[in-house]
């Protein structure tokens, strides 16, 4: 019985088309019915056909109204059924209905302008999405070039992203002209005999999905490439370069690393942070064991900026980020322009510092054997050597 059921049904990918080309989809279903494949239901991805004797059917589509994800409401469905049209399903925000060719049912839509609001909305959404996406990509790409010189692999990813951007303009121009000329005001009747373009399923659905997939992969690979390629010593970083660096704040008592390290990372544990052009930034987080077995912890976020104003801004960002630390004490320490210290919760041995020296802003916390003065002196020495 189940085997028979399988034989009777045939599933095919739904030919997703723009609303204004919907006549071609209707005609495609009619052709299938004439060949003995009668459409039984429509889904977002797949249509279900039933094998029968060849028959003449009419299929009609109409745009979904807002809030009709589950299909037309009872009243509308019931009304259409009384008028001879059976609801089959919804795909790409379009409802599909069927009626036998000899049912005598009145044409579902007798006024082409019925589709005008939906078509206009669709075009506007497409237009603005494509425009915003293109502008964002155009704005982001130069920033990426400024702050991150890519290697061969990086170039490949950039080309992939660029290709995605290049796909946008034809549709953008087409939709823009359509909207500018207000073509929704005089729509031609739906051509129910239009032919479905060859390979439409391939072009319409998988290609757009493939495009999305490419973008996702490209962005992921791109981000991963940043992680790997920019794993450089601070001294090698150009101003404005996105950099992930080895720690330069290792104290004499930081000996043994406990953190699990990825295969491409030789020592320490670091995270890349996307920095705007103008300063580089790194964050390190270390745990170490002293020879007598005591645990030492050091976490550093450091931004080296192009100007003192930029450093002040970054410094204020750091303070905002750690706003939850109340009652920070301001210290006057030679070699630093600003130093704020927070002693942690009562009973804690951790010291938290916000430090700015010229063009550099640093936040770090330390738990270990070094005293506050020695720690700040070591940091001042490191900052001085870095600049």
């Amino acid at each position: 019985m189940e085997h028979e059921q399988k034989l009777r049904h045939k599933w095919r990918m739904h030919p997703s088309l723009m609303l204004e080309q919907i006549g071609a989809v209707e005609h495609y279903y009619e052709e299938q019915a004439a060949q003995g494949l009668v459409l039984e239901s429509v889904g977002s991805w797949f249509d279900c056909f039933v094998r029968t004797a060849p028959c003449a059917m009419r299929y009609r589509a109409e745009p979904m109204l807002s809030g009709e994800r589950e299909g037309p409401d009872w009243d509308r469905r019931h009304f259409y059924e009384e008028a001879g049209w059976t609801y089959l399903g919804t795909a790409s925000e379009i409802h599909f209905f069927a009626s036998a060719a000899d049912s005598g049912a009145e044409e579902l839509h007798t006024d082409p302008q019925d589709f005008a609001p939906a078509l206009r909305r669709q075009r506007r959404v497409n237009f603005w999405l494509a425009l915003i996406f293109s502008l964002v990509m155009l704005a982001v790409l130069p920033l990426v070039f400024l702050s991150y010189p890519p290697d061969l692999q990086g170039w490949l990813y950039l080309v992939l992203v660029l290709l995605c951007v290049l796909v946008m303009p034809p549709g953008l121009i087409r939709d823009g002209r359509w909207l500018f000329q207000k073509r929704w005001q005089h729509l031609p009747p739906v051509d129910h005999t239009a032919r479905i373009p060859r390979g439409i399923t391939l072009r319409a659905r998988p290609l757009s999905s493939l495009l999305c997939l490419t973008i996702i992969i490209a962005v992921n690979l791109f981000s991963s490439s940043i992680d790997r390629i920019s794993f450089l010593p601070v001294a090698d970083a150009a101003p404005g370069q996105l950099v992930l660096t080895l720690a330069q704040t290792d104290g004499t008592d930081l000996i043994d690393y406990n953190y699990p390290l990825p295969h491409y990372q030789e020592s320490n544990t670091f995270r890349a942070i996307l920095a705007p052009a103008g300063y580089w930034f790194y964050e390190s987080d270390e745990s170490a064991k002293t020879p007598d077995g005591a645990i030492v912890q050091l976490s550093v976020e450091r931004a080296s900026c192009r100007s003192e104003e930029a450093a002040k801004w970054v410094f204020s960002q750091m303070l905002d980020r750690y706003d939850w630390m109340k009652d920070k004490t301001s210290l006057s320490v030679p070699g630093f322009d600003e130093v704020l210290q927070w002693g942690g919760e009562p009973g804690q041995q951790i010291n938290w510092f916000f430090v700015r020296a010229g063009k550099q802003a640093v936040f770090f916390y330390y738990e270990g054997g070094m005293g506050q003065d020695a720690l700040l002196a070591l940091l001042a020495e490191n900052l001085a050597s870095a600049t």
Binding site: R60, E62, L65, D73, W74, D75, R76, H78, F79, Y80, E82, A83, W85, E106, E107, L108, H109, T110, D111, Q113, D114, A116
Partner: protein, 108 residues
């Protein structure tokens, strides 16, 4: 497209005319055919969209029925006034036509 008080489309005029008696979707479709002597044919999809727009414009409203799922519509005061205005406009147009034709015949 919302109604701005100007000349009505044929579809809109016949929907309002058919709604002099409250009715629901399919009954309305038949009524429009009957009222227009079969000259105006409106598809169910077109009619449904038009009803939604007329309701948004406040020219028609839903009335309670035993089956709450079924939407039955009736003319509002604004709808009745719009229909009267349109009827007056059509009468005036016919009068103009008659006068012009009469004048032309007198001239010959």
């Amino acid at each position: 497209m919302s109604y701005d008080g100007g000349p009505m489309t044929e579809a809109m005029y016949y929907i309002l005319l058919a709604l002099l008696e409250p009715g629901h979707g399919y009954r309305l479709m038949q009524a429009i055919g009957e009222v227009s002597g079969g000259r105006v044919k409106m598809g169910p999809g077109t009619l449904y969209g038009a009803l939604s727009r007329l309701e948004e414009d406040g020219l028609i409203c839903r009335v309670d029925e035993r089956d709450a799922r079924r939407k039955t519509y009736a003319l509002t005061e604004a709808g009745r006034a719009a229909l009267d205005t349109e009827a007056a406009r059509l009468r005036s147009m016919l009068a103009d036509l008659a006068r012009m034709k009469g004048g032309a015949q007198d001239g010959t």
